[in-house]
């Protein structure tokens, strides 16, 4: 009971901080910034102190939240100010969505989880409309009908199953740790109903078409929330479901495996056909969700190891997609277009974002010191371990990883050509300089990609721990040396010749 009260007080304080920060964010910029930072950094306090009943399943999601929420909140401040001249009403919507996400990942029982899920989904509807208003109405409606409705089917089935077994009061109020020991089991059809909402939220194949539209048409800040945080709600949902209810194993494994495999292949293949930076990243997200889904299907076979790798995957994908989607916002602000073939030479006018976006894409490709390398290494290792359980599993996962690796290189080069390629189109307007908070936010995310691998290395019992640690240290050294060389050996031109925009 005290824990319940403590959690509610904590949530209330979070909300209050956000509310105060958004009373006059345009006149008192610094105060607003400090209050928002306090709110998002305060998530570390219960994490480190171990209060608020945050269990092992939630820790990594909450960690992701604290990093991504701070970055998104800081970035959106600059983004909105450049677009609208003031941030006053819209920043509050974004901040309250972020706080609700924090609340979601710290929810203790089923009723809190369901209510917060529904609230966040509907706020997602608002996030799509935030920049263009009614211009995005059709996309928002498509999102609401396809994604939110199927999500509700699963959630309500979950509620129904639990309350059917334990009674309404006990089932909905009992904590997840208690539910895990109740031994609730369900039949194949209910398993299917329970999973379908979460896989739809992850954009899995038969119901995937809302995803690309939503991701590419929503404003970049919203897309960062969608891809970085909201999709992780679905992962969290599936994990939570798996550990509280004994599902029908065959349906669980084969539904997730097949959906994931098809989605991974389709998503990564489609990345190479895109000319819009956001669509490209949207398909890449879809492919990654496919691999994630596939990986979750191995939970019954691999057990703890799959869970550990899922944690790192969530952390990695959350941070990197938040960063690159925020970066598409920068591209749009700088050059007024998202077409890859109309862009070029952005590295000359936005050096700071260039540095961080290179780190981000190194991570997406999977180059050693970054988090991306860690996760790719682990997946490949696990794929070979899976051979002992069944060749099909191993084969499917390997196909997924191959598509991931090859196409991530392709689309990374394509995306980076926005910064390094030559200029081909007409100039639209004079260049705008990005705000400091945007640069700080992007750099923070890029650096966290380098630093965060330390956490799983210390905290979790990874397979091949020592090998990874050695590669990490070596990679870090190489990166630092190459940065130093870049600084000293790079030849700077006196006149900057711009692509895409006029000086």
């Amino acid at each position: 009971m005290e824990m319940v009260v403590a959690r509610y007080i904590y949530w209330f304080i979070l909300f209050l901080l956000i509310l105060v920060a958004n009373i006059s964010p345009d006149r008192r910029r610094r105060l607003s910034r400090i209050l928002r930072s306090i709110a998002y950094l305060s998530i570390w306090v219960p994490l480190i102190l171990g209060v608020l009943q945050i269990d092992y399943l939630q820790v990594f999601f909450v960690t992701l939240c604290s990093i991504a929420c701070l970055a998104i909140s800081l970035y959106s401040e600059g983004y909105l100010r450049i677009l609208f001249g003031r941030i006053a009403p819209l920043q509050f919507i974004i901040d309250s969505t972020l706080v609700l996400l924090v609340m979601f990942f710290t929810a203790y029982n089923l009723i809190e989880l369901v209510v917060l899920w529904i609230s966040i989904e509907i706020l997602g509807f608002i996030l799509i409309l935030i920049e263009r208003g009614i211009g995005n109405w059709n996309i928002a409606t498509k999102y609401l009908i396809l994604c939110a409705t199927t999500g509700d089917i699963s959630l309500f089935t979950w509620l129904a199953v639990v309350s059917l077994n334990l009674g309404i009061e006990k089932g909905l109020l009992a904590g997840f740790n208690e539910l895990a020991f109740m031994g609730i089991s369900v039949n194949p059809f209910v398993t299917f109903l329970l999973l379908i909402g979460f896989t739809t939220k992850l954009g899995q194949i038969p119901l995937h078409f809302w995803l690309v539209d939503t991701y590419s048409e929503a404003p970049s800040v919203s897309t960062a929330i969608f891809s970085g945080l909201m999709s992780k709600m679905a992962v969290y949902g599936i994990l939570r479901l798996y550990y509280t209810i004994s599902l029908d194993i065959n349906i669980f494994m084969y539904l997730l495996l097949i959906q994931g495999l098809i989605t991974a292949i389709y998503g990564f293949l489609m990345t190479s056909a895109q000319t819009d930076v956001k669509k490209l990243l949207a398909y890449s997200s879809m492919g990654h969700y496919g691999v994630m889904t596939m990986f979750m299907s191995f939970l019954p076979v691999l057990g703890e190891v799959a869970l550990v790798i899922m944690y790192i995957y969530v952390l990695y994908h959350g941070i990197v997609k938040t960063q690159v989607f925020l970066n598409t916002g920068s591209i749009e602000l700088l050059a007024n277009t998202r077409e890859i073939y109309r862009l070029g030479y952005l590295s000359r006018i936005a050096k700071e974002t260039y540095f961080s976006v290179v780190l981000g894409f190194l991570s997406l490709i999977g180059i050693p010191p970054t988090l991306g390398f860690l996760i790719k290494f682990l997946i490949v290792a696990i794929a070979f371990q899976l051979l002992t359980y069944g060749e099909f599993y191993s084969f499917a996962l390997l196909i997924g990883v191959v598509f991931l690796s090859i196409f991530s290189i392709v689309y990374a080069i394509k995306y980076l050509s926005v910064y390094t390629g030559s200029y081909t189109g007409e100039a639209y307007r004079p260049v705008i300089s990005l705000e400091d908070t945007q640069l700080i936010s992007e750099r923070m995310l890029a650096l966290s990609l380098l630093i965060v691998p330390v956490i799983p290395l210390i905290k979790l019992a990874l397979p091949y721990n020592l090998v990874i640690a050695i590669i990490y240290v070596l990679g870090l050294l190489v990166l630092i040396v190459s940065l130093l060389m870049y600084r000293s050996a790079f030849i700077r031109e006196a006149d900057v010749w711009l692509g895409g925009v006029e000086a």
Partner: protein, 502 residues
Amino acid sequence: MSAEPIYSIYFLSFSYIIALSIILTSNKVSNELAKVSMKIIGYVLLLITSLALFINNYIDDVSLVFSTISLFVIVPVSIYSIRYTSLNRYPGSLPFTIDLFSILLVTAFISPNILFFAISWTLAELIGFYLVSLGEEHSIEGSIRASKRFLLMSVATFELTLFTMIYVSVFMLVSALATHLNVLDVLLKPYWLLGVAKTPLYLAPLLLIGFIAKAAQVPLHFWLPDAHSVAPAPASALLSGVMTAMGIYGILRVSMIASINYSVVAYTIMIIGLISIIYGGLQSYVQRDGKRLLAYSTIAGNGFSTAILGYYLLQGGVDVFTALILSVAAHTGYKATFFLDIGLAEQVTGLRFIHRLRGLVKILPYSALAGYLALFSMMGIPPTAGFISKLLAVLSAITDFPSISCMILILSIVSAIVTSILIGLRYVRIYYGEPIVLYSNPTTERVRAMEYCVLALSSSSLIFPLLILLYLEPMIYMILYLVSVLPLLVLIYSLYIMAKRK
């Protein structure tokens, strides 16, 4: 019986009559502020009276809940009607008529026996007919035969059912007990003292037809869209919100006094409800006239309550009963809000076609906020009354999962959610975009007071869920309420901002 209760009933009747006279005389006062405060005092006195009646066991909890819900809706509607009348050049007697109508509705709900119920309800029907025909004379678009249909369908079937009820309660009871009871004595007995009279199945259609027509369920629904769309906005709000709830209330009462083979009746009611949801929802989705859209969605909304009612007759249980009460309350709250909202829109822009109406947030900000809240209740977003009724319905449906009744109920819930989302997303567009103002701008200033009424009415979506405290263990719902009320307010605020910007 001791002497005290008799004194208390005299005292309560006295306070009831005082409340009535305060409300009715308020319309003769010229000062608007005095008028409004007299109305509020009168209705609060009426509420206190009904509470006192409940505490002294003169009425049961069903009467109390229904009368409280109606009073919550009636007060803002009554205040709204004052300016509505003068701005739309309706006859000066309209607010008086609306008050009379409201009082009769409340009286029908709080009357503990069949006689008072029959009298007040029949009078209410006649005044309803007057209100609809008044609307016909003023209507810009819409039917000109609505009032006659209303009289024929709704009133005639209701009378049929009422007399069957009286027949069942009197003759069946008399024959069953083999006593020589006075007829009037039976009619004055409270419902719960009547006992359950064995009723042959062939009387069931007669017992139900009036209430099915009242709730505008599918075979007997056709009078409703015309009547509710031509009536003046406050009258539509009462007709649609409060009067159709009568159908549910009536069937509940019938189930208290007549014992029929309930499985047949219950399945029939559930299927009627399901068909009404689908038919009403789809018809509503294709309407262009905002009031007709709302009228058809009334059929769908009542269909949902009817489906739960059928399930309640079959299964019983306090969960299902609470779901039923909340679904009626939710529908009453949001539908009355919508009718007042579209009435204001018509007032300001001169039209109510939802494909033309745009940008209402910029003209009528408070009423639009209220509209959002009502919309959330209709679509079932936590913690509104609509959500909690759906949640309880789902939870009670799964208790006997594979049965047919459970399947029908789940199908009704799903179709109710889908159709209400479709209707809601179509309706909500009137708040976005650039406004059309055909009349001069000063009108928008004059309707500000009416907007506050709509806002007050829409708060019912957040207050009615608390009715659950009467019936169920509060802990879980309090958590649900607390966790979701903040996001809901954020949501409304952000929708409001989105609409207000370009």
